[in-house]
Amino acid sequence: MANTLLDMPLALPPLVAGVGLLLFFGVSIPGRDLAGAGLVFVFTPLGIVIAQFFVNMPFMVRVMRSTFEEISPRYEHVAKTLGCTDAQALWRVTLPMATNGLIAGSVITWSKGIGEFGAVLMLAGATRMKTETLPTSLFLNMSCGKLDEAIAVATILILISLVSLYVFERRVGGLRL
């Protein structure tokens, strides 16, 4: 059950996820309450964060789950026979061994987040200088014919993806997702 809930955003088209978020934060009761309390997500920079997070979080969870699954529980068993409590075994043995996976997962999820377009567009809008991410900028520039700016942004995005992918492969290349 938890698996399905966590994996859902992976199967959902980002655009649809974005509409869902928009409706939730803009129209529904919990959303309205949040807005009343000062947390406005619709058409604000805060919305960018939520949109990027919601769509890409399941991917990070996947990477982390794989990382931990690859670490044999026997390491913790040995640590416990060598005087560790459960918590100490986790802290001194499992987590340091998971570091590579953590870093790699973070980097590639960040990269996907940076490139997120559909969900950000729906929830945060595409207001120049206010809710303008790199992909948004690319879109807006293409729409009004500013080709040079658009290509510049695209190049930056490509570079970010390549570097992130390289870091990911170096650290956890071969990890089964």
């Binding site: 068993h77 026979t81 060598l82 100490q88 061994m97």
Partner: protein, 359 residues
Amino acid sequence: MLRIENVSIDLGEFALRDVSLEVGDGEYLVIIGPTGSGKTILMETIAGIYSPDEGRIFLNGREITGKVSRMRNVCMVYQDYMLFPHLSVKENIAFGLRSRKASPGEIDKKVAGASELLGISHLHHRRPGTLSGGEQQRVAIARAIVMEPAVMLLDEPLSALDGLTRERLRRELKRIHKVYGTTIIHVTHNFEEVFSLADRVAVMDGGEIVQVGTPEEVFRRPKGEMIANFVGVENVFKGAASITQELVEIEVDGLRIVSAAAGGGNGGGDDCGTAGREVFASVRPEDILISKVPLKSSARNSFHGKVEEIANGGIMVKVWVDVGIPFMVMLTRRGFEEMDLSKGDLVYLTFKATAVHVF
């Protein structure tokens, strides 16, 4: 002193059924059995990784059944070593001592002591991933022995090593046992380790302990087909070795067995062939020729004695002959019938020096 009382545990694929066992202080107990017989589960239960469904475990008078691993003073060495890859060799060995919050001076001293005994002091700054199998195994053992545990559990410690390394490490285990005096429980499926290391041996099958006793008891009088078949070799004798020319003579109970195994039979090259050194000699039952008259051959081993027992197993017939030491000989059914042997007959046993395996 470790006492296991009626312990049962069910983990689906593996289980223990009503296991009871007593291990004395400083004893070296070897547990043998086929895969899936529950050896590793028993060890993990003793170590506190699993809690038994039924039964109790006592260590030096105190009950440890419900206690968590770190409270038990029991250390375990897994078959695949499980060295922490993110720590150096020295940090691995010191790991348990750091958990105990020992002072840096004390840690250094104990780590140095164990490292020297195991010959790994020069590896202190290396990472586990860069070590050979034998080196990793020594580090794993050092990591456990510095804790000076009440019981040290070794899960097939020598199985993943090549022949030469295995023999070396086997001698080191014996040395460690002597120096530290720890109670050791060692799981294996190799009978050579039983004979050279064990004070007693326990045989497990299907989650139960089938037989416990000294190696001689268990192997000479196996309780059941399973043990006998599992070992596949009878006729194991302990004796004093001496080298003459290229042969090794082993004296067992006043009788002389000659082996052609080179240089003491170990192939290890160090410490071999010292006169009077205690070794084990074994001969496969099929390699022994039995006859009613002495055979004229180039075979160097020739004994005579009385037939004690005959077991007709269908295709093969087993004959036990006492020549001063008990031998078990195997014949084909045809061969047996042609010879017309019966209990009490005087027979001659002959076998070649090359048939004698020394370890």
